[in-house]
């Protein structure tokens, strides 16, 4: 117990730094993937056949293969195969590679949620807008968008909570996020060695973060609960 109390502040300080990197990856992924997903969704719904076929093929590949493999390919492929590292060295390079992989991967998942949301709005809503002289974009922004958001909040909250935990996969390219920070104490770090509890303790950070997200999404759902679709 004495030993644990001695170790605790050192470990927490270290995990905090790791968690900061975890959160950075989380937010950068969201900022990139939320809009990119919408573009991909429009691509897969496009009436231009080659575009929609290409987009759906791309989504199939990205969703159908492990994110961990995608991380490894994006990080190592340019250096090993093309003999040209594009990521630069060090933590910044690893972060850029991890962000790229996460943004592409999550944009594909988001795009399918968007597509489902957009296509689930009854065609009568669009027709009502059309006969009232609205333009396509007015119909999208003033009629459909709110209904789409209302429908996609539950699946999006699922996906975003998964993203918090998936950031741990970036450990595979040695990004110094919270798992990496916890694992360091198993070998030896800051005078602590052979300790496995810091790694277990990282779960508390994920739990706390997802607790907050659950509250946030609950609030959004209640906000949009004033009407029924």
């Amino acid at each position: 117990m004495q030993l644990f109390l001695q170790q605790f502040p050192i470990v927490v300080r270290s995990l905090n730094i790791g968690f900061l990197q975890t959160m950075k990856l989380f937010f950068v992924t969201l900022i990139g993937a939320l809009p990119l997903g919408l573009l991909i969704a429009f691509g897969s719904m496009s009436r231009v056949k080659p575009l929609s076929v290409f987009t759906r093929l791309f989504v199939w590949i990205v969703r159908g293969s492990p994110l961990m493999i995608q991380l490894l390919i994006i990080f190592y492929f340019p250096g090993i195969v093309l003999h040209q590292t594009i990521w630069g060295g060090g933590e910044a390079g690893r972060f850029a590679a991890a962000s790229t992989a996460f943004i592409i991967n999550y944009a594909c998942y988001f795009s399918e949620i968007y597509r489902g949301g957009i296509q689930s709005v009854p065609v009568g809503q669009e027709e009502a807008g059309l006969v009232l002289g609205m333009t396509k974009s007015q119909i999208f922004f003033h009629v459909k968008l709110s209904q789409v958001i209302k429908r996609i909040v539950p699946p999006m909250s699922n996906e975003i909570i998964t993203l918090v935990k998936d950031t741990s996969l970036a450990r595979i390219i040695a990004l110094q996020e919270i798992i990496w920070a916890g694992q360091a104490f198993m070998k030896s770090s800051q005078g602590i060695s052979g300790a496995i509890w810091p790694l277990f303790f990282t779960a508390v950070y994920y739990l706390a973060c997802n607790g907050l997200l659950t509250l946030l999404f609950g609030w959004v759902e209640r906000k949009l609960g004033y009407y029924k679709v």
Binding site: G124, V131, G133, T135, H142, Y227, K228
Partner: protein
């Protein structure tokens, strides 16, 4: 001059010809009911008039202006279509109210969006919106829903929702108001309130086209009844004449089938 001239409209979906050579005319203030069994093309005809379907052939004139001509692509440009479809209003069988807006906002929305295109919108925004709101309130009052203006569609009965939809269609002051089976999605005890509203519009001298299965209503309210079957107009005429004394065999069969169902 006729307010509406429909000339030889044809429409196919794949290999199925839904409308075959449909022609009729209407005078201002006239009410035309279109009757016929399901699949006879009534709804498709209304959708063609509202540019929700593009006819394969024929032309449509409003006030003598050609608003659609299958042979003239210039009449089919998207920007033009948007302006021209405002000649028509459409009340849907399934209401299609916007669920996220109150009854009042449902009636106001399209008018507000159109007003944004006016050159003086920025300068007079407040006055313009206030006027749209005032008109919307008057319309909701006219359909008997002044006490329901701040309710959302899910808080309204089917009959009330359809009356909001009628007010919404009236808000843009269409020349011709179309109804696509306006009471078919309603419980029988709720059809009366909607039919009453449509009747009151007739006394306002509105030009209306009503696709309906309510024969008694069609007989009372219409100046002209059109019976459609298999994508053609089989018979048209004064409602009493057509319903009590049909000339065509198919009309007789349709009416007697209905009579048996109602008996």
């Amino acid at each position: 001059m006729a307010i509406l001239e429909v000339n030889s409209i044809r429409k196919s979906f794949g290999s199925v010809e839904v409308l075959k050579n449909i022609s009729f005319t209407m005078e201002k203030g006239e009410v035309v009911s279109i009757i016929g069994s399901s699949g006879s093309g009534k709804t498709t005809l209304l959708r063609c008039l509202n540019f929700l379907e593009r006819p394969d052939g024929g032309s449509i004139k409003v006030h003598g202006e050609t608003v659609f001509d299958a042979g003239d692509p210039a009449t089919q440009r998207e920007s033009e279509v948007r302006r021209k479809r405002l000649h028509f209003g459409l009340v849907f069988q399934s209401f299609n109210l916007f669920p996220q807006y109150t009854a009042l906002k449902n009636v106001m929305l399209a008018g507000e969006l159109l007003a944004k295109e006016r050159p003086d919108y920025r300068a007079n925004k407040k006055a313009i919106v206030a006027q749209i709101e005032e008109e919307a309130k008057a319309l909701l009052d006219q359909v008997g829903l002044s006490h329901r203006m701040m309710n959302y569609p899910w808080q309204l009965s089917g009959g009330q929702q359809q009356r909001v939809a009628i007010a919404r269609a009236l808000a843009l002051k269409p020349d011709i108001l179309c109804f696509d089976e306006p009471t078919s999605a309603l419980d029988p005890e709720l059809t009366g309130e909607v039919l009453r509203v449509i009747r009151s519009l007739k006394s306002d001298d509105r030009t209306m086209i009503i696709v309906t299965h309510e024969m008694g209503f069609a007989r009372d309210v219409s100046d002209q009844v059109i019976f459609m079957d298999g994508g053609v107009i089989v018979e048209k005429g004064h409602p009493m004449e057509l319903m009590n004394n049909p000339k065509e065999e198919r009309t007789k069969q349709f009416l007697s089938r209905l009579g048996q169902n109602n008996a």
